[in-house]
């Protein structure tokens, strides 16, 4: 019931790719691409799903990332592990998608959290489930939290990704955790109240 090991779904982006598969993929071999998908499709999907919060959008993003990767793999020189290279591609595509969502385009932390009602939305169906809690966060806040807490991005890297200052991502993260805390408290409250018979 803890959160360990969840940042690395199904082997995650840290999996190694053998040189032969990589060379074949760079030569355009579809079988090699299928091998890469079987290794990295799932982590890519889960990264997108955690940030976007929508299965269909996450699958569309995986498709976009892999098609982009097919075109760009010849330029991959092996300076970084293949998984890191692909993960960066996936994160960039996800952030681009978030930027494209007009309702989430606000860069001000206040505005981002003001868009989504906080405590009232935590109805009786809300449980102490990490995924359900994450989904209650605004998409941009969820992105900052997932990338920082699960994918190991620093605030400097997040600032670069979002084109904002470091204090921006720090502020978003702090507010996100605060919001989650409030949600948990609110959800737990009825259980802690003594019932009268």
């Amino acid at each position: 019931m803890t959160m360990e090991n969840t940042s690395d779904p199904a082997g995650g982006f840290a999996q190694r790719v053998d040189a032969m598969t990589l060379a074949r993929a760079q030569a355009g071999d579809m079988q090699a691409f299928a091998t890469l998908y079987s290794s990295f499709g799932k982590p890519c999907f889960n990264l997108a799903l955690r940030i976007l919060g929508n299965r269909a959008q996450a699958e569309d993003l995986v498709q976009e990332v892999f098609l982009k990767m097919f075109g760009a793999i010849r330029s991959y020189r092996g300076d970084a592990p293949f998984g890191s290279w692909l993960k960066r591609m996936a994160v960039n595509a996800t952030i681009d998608q978030l930027r494209g969502q007009r309702h989430d385009a606000d860069v001000d932390a206040e505005a981002i959290f003001a868009q989504q009602p906080a405590l009232d939305s935590a109805g009786p169906a809300a449980t102490l489930d990490a995924w359900a809690l994450l989904l209650r966060l605004p998409a941009r806040a969820r992105a900052v939290l997932v990338l920082h807490e699960f994918e190991g991005y620093t605030h400097t890297e997040l600032a670069e990704l979002f084109g904002q200052s470091e204090s921006y991502s720090k502020s978003i993260l702090a507010r996100a955790l605060k919001r989650l805390n409030e949600l948990v408290v609110r959800t737990a409250e009825p259980e802690t109240c003594p019932t009268r018979s």
């Binding site: 019931m1 803890t2 959160m3 360990e4 090991n5 969840t6 779904p9 199904a10 579809m30 691409f33 299928a34 998908y37 079987s38 499709g41 799932k42 999907f45 889960n46 799903l49 955690r50 299965r55 996450a58 699958e59 995986v62 498709q63 892999f66 098609l67 097919f70 102490l128 489930d129 990490a130 995924w131 809690l133 994450l134 939290l145 807490e149 699960f150 702090a174 955790l177 605060k178 989650l180 805390n181 948990v184 408290v185």
Partner: protein, 163 residues
């Protein structure tokens, strides 16, 4: 709960949250991706073919135009040669005619002279009609051959009369 500034993992551990689920994408997602990739490849292949055909047509057209020009130039140079040769032979023939009083004519020379007159008429009408270069060239060639025969015949007659 008074200190919300902690990591999500600490928060989750403290709150005994469930783990984030690790979900599987749809089973047919790879088929969709592979299909889209094949489609992109087909489109790119088609673009290359269209481009190749386009450039081939341009190159072919340039070759045809170039070859046509070269052929026309070559043909023209051949025509000029025959005409010049005929004129040179005519000058030779005149010189031979004036150089001797004896005009012993043989049968070949008579035939050649008759045909030469016909060729001259044909050449004149060819020019008047604006005939094709090929026809004019053929007539100049024939005229040249006839003059050559006449020159040879005159030379033979001269040699005979000197003996």
């Amino acid at each position: 709960m008074s200190d919300p500034i902690m990591t999500f993992h600490q928060f989750a551990r403290r709150m005994r949250l469930d783990e984030l689920p690790v979900l599987e994408p749809s089973a047919d997602l790879w088929q969709k991706i592979a299909g889209a990739q094949q489609q992109r490849r087909r489109r790119a292949h088609l673009r290359r073919i269209v481009l190749w055909c386009g450039s081939s047509v341009v190159v072919l057209a340039a070759l045809i135009v170039g070859a046509d020009g070269w052929f026309a130039r070559t043909q023209a140079s051949v025509d000029v040669d025959w005409q010049a040769r005929a004129q040179a032979l005519e000058l030779q023939l005149r010189a031979l005619n004036t150089g001797t009083s004896a005009r012993a004519a043989n049968a070949i020379a008579i035939d050649a002279q008759n045909e030469l007159a016909l060729v001259d008429v044909a050449l004149q009408s060819a020019y008047d009609e604006g005939a094709e270069q090929q026809r004019v060239s053929a007539l100049w060639k024939r005229r040249s051959e006839l003059l050559s025969a006449l020159v040879n015949a005159r030379r033979q007659n001269l040699e005979i009369s000197r003996i």
